[in-house]
Amino acid sequence: MSCDSSPINMRASGGSSFVLRLLGLYLAQCLLLVCAAESNFEQANRLYEQGKYSEAASIYESIIRAGRNSPGVFFNLGNAYFKSGEPGRAIYYYRRAAELAPRDEDVRANLRFARDKVSGSASVQPKAWQQAVDYFTLDEIAVGAAVFFWLWLGLLSILRWRPELRRTLRPWCSGTALLLSVAVLLLVLRSFSASERTAIIVAKQGIVHLGPLAESQAAFNVPEGTELKVEARRDNWVQVTDRSNRTGWIESAQLLEAGSPI
């Protein structure tokens, strides 16, 4: 997509409706927004190359706040935080990139690299089936299931219309039904996997208390970058569980929940 600054010529013949003009304005606005996002992205990349990681991170975040999300922006933001010595935020943004592009090798590699740098490794580990279903995004599985659903019902409709084709179409019906079942199962598992909330520690040392009070006894502490399972919330406290099933409460300012806004 080219992003030169020349204005868009809108053809407005005498008979063009108000709707056409509105549509043109809307498209122009979208184009301008995309161009603005891309120029900000390039500016942030330049700052990153100059080693100004914090400034680059600020610009990447402004792109995201403007609603222009893409795997590339999240990935580069993760890199900027990693280089700035904030592995917790780096892991958070790598995960967000992975949600949008689960098969991107660079995203997977950097997420793995950042996770390996977290010491102690009290992070909860996704189960094997979760790693398998997370290979696709929820929308990809939904589209796949919809395609098989349409195919299957379409074949059944054809059979109603032309019963003499039963012999020919039966194996196709069975195959499509099987694929649909698999897709629905994947959809259910992926939905379940997406519903499990995890949080990443972004403080240098996260202190987990026995109760949701600052005066509560400290139960254990976890280093930055540790990924914990979210169990419950109360006021500005979050109940978390680590890999060894130790449970406690931590202030929400010390972590970022997967899916939470910037």
Binding site: G67, N110, S119, L138, L153, L156
Partner: protein, 591 residues
């Protein structure tokens, strides 16, 4: 004779070999036995008033002949309990250990130093090691005498972040369902807890089982903080009073369980903040007492080749939190260091933390690895200290093509790909497709509504198929439907023909429609329908005389069309209307 001589010689040879072997064994044993060692141990370093500790002097591979008496120590009684002996033979090597045991019991709290004494072993005098016994006040009176908790700390004044060991001991005579003691430690962080081996001790005339626990804690904030109490609960087993009428009562013994909640006294701690003045700029929070060794290899290399800095920090403190300073050297590229900890104690407070830091000289102008330093706060000395290492000279030659990649040692268990990678993959130059984040497709109403389309289609096709099957099994119904369509289409066409006064087509269509509808009602072929059928069949089907008359008139109009056709469009339309009325009435006739 020769054979007998040979046999006798063989027997003698075997005897000689056996004797030599035995001698060798004994001699080798005696050689080991001659190297005596003397060792002094205390089974516990902290006891309460009235509680006994055991001092053991172990003499290995020697025969103790005499031992000096311990000098009298005020407040402490030292009783000789006797000697025990262990002999072990391993791989033919014999070693013997004799242990002299002394019981130590204090009548007053305090710190007692048991001085060294000389032990004569095989004519040689060996000194023992002095040991220190800490005696605390007895807590028994304040708590239940059969079960109580004890909380001990080495000192009550510590610094924020300083890690200290805490001893918790549960003394109990006999109990079940013992809950692990929990330490209330508001304002403290518990780093580690280690269960230790159960022991037994005697205080006064009560024998206790002692369950010890060790914890490593540090204070999270400054000020006067209360450590404890330690809390636990158990079911204490108390011997029941014997029933005089029970002949077996004294033989078996009866115990009664009594639930008890225990709590130890608290310890008031004074937590000092780290001094704000004189803090070195590179101090990063390490607290303890440390020393280090630094080594770099190789010292001669090409530019771009890696150098591994091995830094081992040994001492006492919170080793886990020790971090290397950032190496921001413009002439070197530094990678993230790897570290490992080897602890000398179960709590991890003493040991060595080893770092391996890879640095890569970027040019041949590099002459040395710059000096490095590490600052920490020594709580015993109450001051900051800095470990320094001078610059390490290196010889860097210009780089050759294809210089080696730095080797980063990865912790055990990492995948190969992570072992090879030393940095994150570089940023993406394109952002990729922009996506508006929102609920997933499965929660979008439009997406779900879209899935209704194939469902409705299937339902529609199914209903249509059922109708088709019903029609296929009912030819009369099928004909009825077809005739309805034919009549509906025909009436429209008839009006058009009437308006256009196309007489031939009009009358032909009029006649055909009459035939079709009458044929369907009377279940006769349409071609067989004539005016005669009206009189023969219609009355039987319940048609009214008016209807029959109307139909007859229409037939006659058709017959007269050849000779005297009605020509005006108005009249033709009137005929059309009459036909419509007649056909509607015909359709009302029962099947």
């Amino acid at each position: 004779m020769a054979a007998g001589y040979r046999i006798d010689n063989a027997r003698m040879f075997v005897r000689q070999v056996t004797l030599v072997a035995l001698l060798m064994t004994v001699l080798s044993g005696r050689i080991v036995l001659g190297a005596a060692t003397v060792r002094t141990d205390l089974d516990r370093s902290t006891v309460m008033v009235g509680e006994s500790a055991t001092l053991s002097i172990s003499i290995e591979n020697g025969n103790p002949q005499t031992a000096e008496n311990f000098p009298p120590i005020k407040g402490l009684s030292i009783q000789y309990r006797g000697v025990s002996q262990n002999v072990t033979i391993v791989n033919g090597v014999t070693s013997a250990k004799r242990i002299l045991s002394f019981g130590l019991t204090a009548t007053e709290p305090g710190k007692y130093t048991i001085p060294a004494i000389n032990v004569t072993v095989d004519g040689v005098s060996y000194p023992t090691r002095p040991v220190t016994l800490t005696v605390t006040k007895s807590d028994v009176q304040g708590q239940n005498r059969y079960a109580f908790l004890k909380l001990s700390v080495p000192k009550q004044e510590i610094y924020v972040g300083e890690v200290i060991p805490v001893d918790v001991q549960l003394y109990v005579t006999r109990a079940e369902n013992v809950q692990t003691p929990q330490l209330k430690a508001d304002g403290f962080i518990i780093h580690k807890q280690v269960d230790q081996q159960k022991t037994q001790t005697q205080i006064g005339n009560i024998i206790y089982n002692v369950l010890p626990f060790k914890l490593a804690i540090s204070a999270a904030k400054a000020g006067k903080l209360t450590l404890g109490p330690v809390q636990s609960s158990l079911d204490l087993l108390m011997r029941q009073q014997q029933d005089p009428g029970d002949p077996f009562g004294s033989f078996f013994g009866r115990y009664q369980a009594r639930h008890m909640d225990l709590a130890s006294p608290v310890v008031e701690m004074n937590v000092l903040p780290l001094p704000a003045t004189n803090a070195p700029p590179d101090f990063s929070g390490a607290i303890g007492a440390f020393s280090w060794t630094v080594a770099a290899s190789p010292n001669t290399l090409n530019a771009g080749d890696p150098i591994t800095l091995k830094i081992a920090i040994t001492g006492q403190g919170n080793l886990d939190n020790l971090k290397l300073p950032e190496f921001n050297w413009p002439d070197f590229k530094a990678y993230s260091p790897n570290s490992s900890v080897a602890s000398d104690d179960p709590l991890g407070l003493m040991g060595t933390k080893s770092f391996e830091q890879v640095i890569v000289p970027q040019s041949a102008n590099v002459r040395e690895i710059p000096a490095i330093s590490l600052s920490y706060f020594d709580p015993e000395q109450k001051r900051y200290a800095t470990l320094s290492h001078p610059a390490i000279p290196v010889k860097v030659a210009p780089s050759t093509a294809g210089s080696a990649q730095p080797t980063v040692l990865a912790p055990k268990g990492e995948r190969d790909e992570a072992k090879e990678r030393t940095d994150v993959v570089h940023i993406k130059l394109q952002p990729g497709p922009m996506i508006a984040l929102g609920p997933p497709l499965v929660r979008q109403p439009w997406f779900l509504a879209l899935q209704a389309i194939p469902l409705l289609s299937l339902v529609g096709f199914t209903l249509w198929r059922k109708r088709q099957d019903a029609l296929a099994n009912n030819p009369r119904l099928r004909r009825k439907i077809e005739v309805e369509k034919t009549v509906a289409t025909g009436m429209t066409e008839l009006r058009r023909l009437a308006a256009a006064t196309e007489l031939d087509s009009f009358y032909a269509l009029l006649f055909r429609l009459l035939q079709e509808q009458l044929g369907e009602r009377l279940d006769l072929p349409s071609s067989a329908i004539t005016e005669a059928v009206l009189e023969e069949r219609l009355p039987k089907r319940g048609a009214s005389p008016e209807l029959i008359e109307r139909l007859r008139r229409l037939f006659q109009i058709c017959n007269q069309a050849r000779y005297a056709p009605i020509r005006s469009d108005q009249e033709l339309l009137a005929v059309t209307t009459e036909l419509e009325t007649a056909l509607n009435e015909l359709r009302q006739l029962p099947d």
